[in-house]
Every structure is written in C-alpha cells, then in structure tokens.
C-alpha cells in the first residue's frame, strides 16, 4: 500500500478532511480525545490485518512516524 493511500485511510478512520492529515501533523491534534486515537489505531490494524504492540508506538507522535511503523509492518 502506498503512503498516500495510508494517509487517506487514516483520514477516513479519523473522519476528518484528508488535507489535515499531513506528514508533520501531531496525532493528538487530529483527535478529540485519547479514546479516538486508541479506536483509530485498533481499526487501522483491522483494516490492514497487522498487529501493533505498545512498544511499536513508543515515541510516535506524528502522522509520519505512525506511517513509518505501519509501512514496516506491511513490508
């Protein structure tokens, strides 16, 4: 899956305008509360059939960093 497709998927799951999901955007700025972020990460795994664990997301704060982790899992 291409990076722009992942970005589009993330925007869809977050239910926000894709233009807001830039590489540098902070994930916490894209969600109303922490519950939404957890829900989105769980849904992302279901959509892509991957499994993330807590260590995978250690230090991940931006869209770019999340996409890096997801891309590595898909590889």
């Amino acid at each position: 899956m291409q990076r722009n497709e992942l970005t589009a998927l993330l925007a869809k799951l977050l239910k926000i305008d894709a233009a807001r999901v830039t590489e540098n955007a902070r994930l916490t700025d894209l969600v109303a509360d922490s519950f939404v972020l957890i829900e989105t990460v769980v849904e992302l795994q279901e959509e892509l059939d991957i499994t993330l664990v807590q260590e995978d997301l250690d230090g991940v704060v931006s869209v770019s960093q999340l996409l890096d982790v997801v891309t590595a899992k898909l590889a």
């Binding site: 922490s34 519950f35 939404v36 972020l37 957890i38 829900e39 990460v41 769980v42 849904e43 795994q45 279901e46 499994t51 993330l52 664990v53 807590q54 995978d56 997301l57 250690d58």
Partner: protein
C-alpha cells in the same frame, strides 16, 4: 449524605460513563466474534451502571457533580496508550479489579444510604462477570501474543493502576478517606 458522598457517587457515575464511551467505540470497530459479543454486553452494562448512579443520586435528591478528574487520561499517562485488543483488555482487567475492590470497600461503610448500597450490590454482580469474560479472553489471546507478553502487559498496567490510584487518593483523599478507613466498616 454530605458533599463527599455526593462527590464519590458522581465520580463513580463519571467513571462508568467514560467506560461505556470507550467500549462503545471498540464495539463498533472490532470484527464480529466472541470478543465483540462480550464487549458489547460490557459496554451496555457500563451504561446501565451510569444510570444506577444517576438514579441513586436522584433518590437522595442530589444532582450529579460535573467531574473534571479524567481517570482514563491519568491511566494513559501512566501506562501509555494500549494499541491492540489484548493490551486494552489487560488494562480493562486491572481497572475492573480496582473498581470491584473500591465498590466492595464502599459497601462495607457503616450507615451507607440504601440507594448507594443497592447500586453497589447490583453493580458488583456485573463486575464479577466483567472480570471473568476479560480473563477468559486474555487467556485465549496467549495463543497469538504469547503467555509471557500477556502476563507482562497485565503487570505493567497493574503498576500504572497503583500509581494512578495513589495519585487519586493524594488528590481527593479528603473525599474518599471514610471509605478507605476500616474503622468505618459495619462488617
């Protein structure tokens, strides 16, 4: 009933609402299967519990206090964000045990209002099932994640729970101290 009693029941109500909101989101995104089934029931229970506390306050002619203490945010700060359903259930297990322990202590307090006692007894019955289904689900997840990882995840969240609960006691001890003091227990 005094201000502290009103505060603690409002706190319970707020916690149940937060739990219901969280599980309702997960129930929507998880694939069909036993976990989705039980988690949906769990979320329905938490909503019902929020109603029991609202009703108990009403029976005491009290309005709920709007709470600013967001327990779940403190949890996430201490434990980090759970990222998969196993980690979410591990955190849930730790939290449910904390809840049932708190409610059991509260139910022993002398001269407790009948409305509060009724809500506590009813909710504690549900909580037993919550712990059972979550425990069963975590056991099943050992196959995918490994028993060691599941155990370590539960332990990590248990430590975080102790930290958060300790912080809550430090911040709101004057409001819940009477529940923690065994000298106030009727049995």
């Amino acid at each position: 009933m005094n201000d502290n009693d009103r505060w603690i029941v409002s706190f319970y109500r707020n916690s149940e609402i937060s739990g219901a909101q969280f599980f309702s989101r997960l129930a929507r995104v998880l694939p069909a299967g036993p976990i989705q089934f039980d988690l949906t029931k769990h979320f329905a229970d938490e909503s019902q519990h929020a109603w029991y506390w609202t009703k108990a306050l009403g029976d005491m002619n009290l309005d709920p206090i709007k709470m600013t203490f967001a327990y779940q945010d403190h949890y996430l700060e201490a434990a980090g964000m759970p990222t998969n359903i196993m980690e979410i259930l591990a955190l849930t297990m730790v939290f449910e045990r904390r809840v049932i322990s708190q409610y059991a202590r509260h139910s022993r307090v002398r001269d407790i209002h009948p409305a509060v006692q009724h809500a506590l007894n009813t909710i504690m019955e549900d909580e037993k099932w919550h712990i059972q289904w979550v425990g069963d689900a975590l056991k099943q997840m050992e196959e995918k994640f490994g028993a060691e990882r599941v155990k370590n995840t539960c332990e990590r969240f248990r430590k975080a729970d102790e930290e958060v609960y300790g912080r809550m006691i430090a911040e709101h001890g004057e409001r819940i101290g009477h529940i923690l003091d065994k000298q106030n227990y009727a049995f």
